[in-house]
């Protein structure tokens, strides 16, 4: 057993150390930077809380941070709600599950950048919907509510995250002991009651997993808000990129990165606690 133990540690070490190092070291440096200041092209390395003070008092930062979390929450909700029936269908209503799972995951493997670009082509001012409607003579001027707003961001991300929502829920549906459902219906529960009081509570772990997998990366999403969000749809990642790029204020960018991470962490924990207790309540 101890030999087994040693081999395991040795074999897993390179990958663990690599990821560990590339998580810990950059984070450490980010923390350092957040206490330094940018003076033109140099970095002033004397310790200061200035960046945090600036970030907390800047209404733009607060606004973008809150909106990123709000948008990520909305995206998560829409994506999971749209995906749940699909997971249900694959788990309970199909024979060839492998085929269906493959069908659902194929679009995910196509470059994320291209999928966002595709939505821009569809929803754009001169995009597919507008141009087609105009050439058909149904509208006189392009509909401007399609692109560059929150709707476009939610639509695009609900598309991008689809498999991440479907798969964990599918797994938890698949684990449900079918005799529980029979028991419920034998005891006189209708189909709706059966779903609400047996199926749904048992898939809470799947819903939590899906939601976290979607929520956490969405808060820091850069491509979608930049390409389809317009000025109304911008999120915190876009601001972070500006500080690391054009504005060339890395310490403030680092501070923002850390603040978004802390915010994501807090919201995620609150969400898990909330949903767990909700799951107990409906049972």
């Amino acid at each position: 057993m101890s030999d087994n133990n040693r081999t395991g540690v040795l074999l897993a070490l390179p990958a663990t150390a690599y990821v560990g190092l590339l998580v810990a070291a950059p984070l450490g440096v980010l923390v350092l930077y957040s206490f330094w200041t940018q003076t033109y092209i140099d970095i002033d390395r004397s310790f200061t809380w200035e960046n945090y003070r600036t970030a907390f008092s800047d209404p733009l930062v607060r606004h973008l941070l809150i909106r990123s979390i709000w948008m990520a929450g909305l995206v998560t909700f829409v994506t999971v709600a749209l995906a749940y029936p699909i997971a249900y269908f694959v788990a309970f209503r199909t024979r060839n599950k492998t085929f269906w799972l493959l069908l659902i995951t194929i679009p995910f493997w196509i470059s994320y950048l291209l999928r966002v670009f595709a939505w821009r082509v569809i929803l754009g001012f001169n995009g597919l919907i507008n141009s087609t409607l105009m050439s058909a003579g149904l509208i006189d001027e392009p509909l401007d509510f399609l692109l560059y707003n929150e709707f476009a961001v939610i639509m695009t991300l609900a598309h991008a995250w689809a498999p991440f929502a479907i798969l964990p829920i599918y797994v938890s549906l698949q684990r449900i002991d079918r005799s529980l459902l029979e028991a419920a219906s034998d005891l006189g529960a209708g189909r709706v009651e059966c779903f609400l009081r047996v199926t749904l509570p048992l898939t809470i772990p799947g819903i939590i997993a899906s939601s976290l997998i979607i929520f956490i990366p969405t808060v820091g999403d850069y491509v979608t808000p930049a390409l389809v969000g317009g000025s109304d749809g911008k999120m915190v990642a876009n601001l972070i990129q500006v500080y690391f790029g054009a504005a060339n204020n890395w310490p403030l960018g680092a501070t923002l990165s850390l603040m978004s991470m802390a915010a994501v962490g807090m919201v995620a924990v609150a969400f898990v606690v909330l949903l767990r207790s909700a799951g107990k309540a409906i049972r």
């Binding site: 395991g8 390179p14 990958a15 950059p26 980010l30 069908l103 470059s111 990165s257």
Partner: protein, 269 residues
Amino acid sequence: MTRLSRLMPGLRAYVLLYLVFLYLPVLLIPLFSFNDGTVVAFPITGLTLQWYGQLASEDALLRSLRNSFIVAGATAVFSTMLGLFAARAYVRNRFRGQRWSEGLVMLPLVTPVIIVASAMLTLFMLIGLRPSLATVVLGHTFLTLPFAVAILKSAFEEFDPSLEEAAYDLGETVPGTFRRVTLPIVAPGIVASLLVTFTVSFDEFVLAFFLSGDRPTLPVYIWSQIRFPARLPNTLALGSLLLGFSVLLLILAEYFRRKTRRIAADAKR
């Protein structure tokens, strides 16, 4: 089908709609890349290959393509190597800190990329590593490792540990067993992992955007083209090629993944 599915015609209709939602954007790119007009609209006026022809003469594009091949190739090799050892340990060994290690290795999958990108850029600049293709490889290896580990874990799970034990009992050394028993059986899994990590790296944008400096990869090049409406037809053509290439690699990966299962089953007999 079952009685219940007849009770729920709504569900089937919904699934169909959802599939349209999933596939429509993806299929539009190749469809309109053959359109001879510069406006994306139905009905399509005529078909042409001219946008594809124009791609071949763009030096910046060809350079970024070469950069992407270098980055994705190196990333695939590194993360598959790291993943191979780790996956073997996770499936075959029980060791202290295993759960912790498995969780950590999956972490890149659920970390906001913008934070990873900004943090890595800061670190690399601090230790004097200028943005280059090498820094992109370091970042992509981190990002693709969860995929390699997941694929290789399932490859190891497929095959019977008694085969390795039999080799030891027959006097084969540890490296010998690895080369003559383990490797041939998990080889298709390794190929699948190489293909998948290659694809993920080849398509990745945000990290490359932050870390590539003045040597853009293909997605970074595409990003620079997306803003210009006049470049739309060419971008569509380029996108279709990239899309076709990714799908091809993934079909291959799936083929090899299934082959692992077959080989493992044959070896058991």
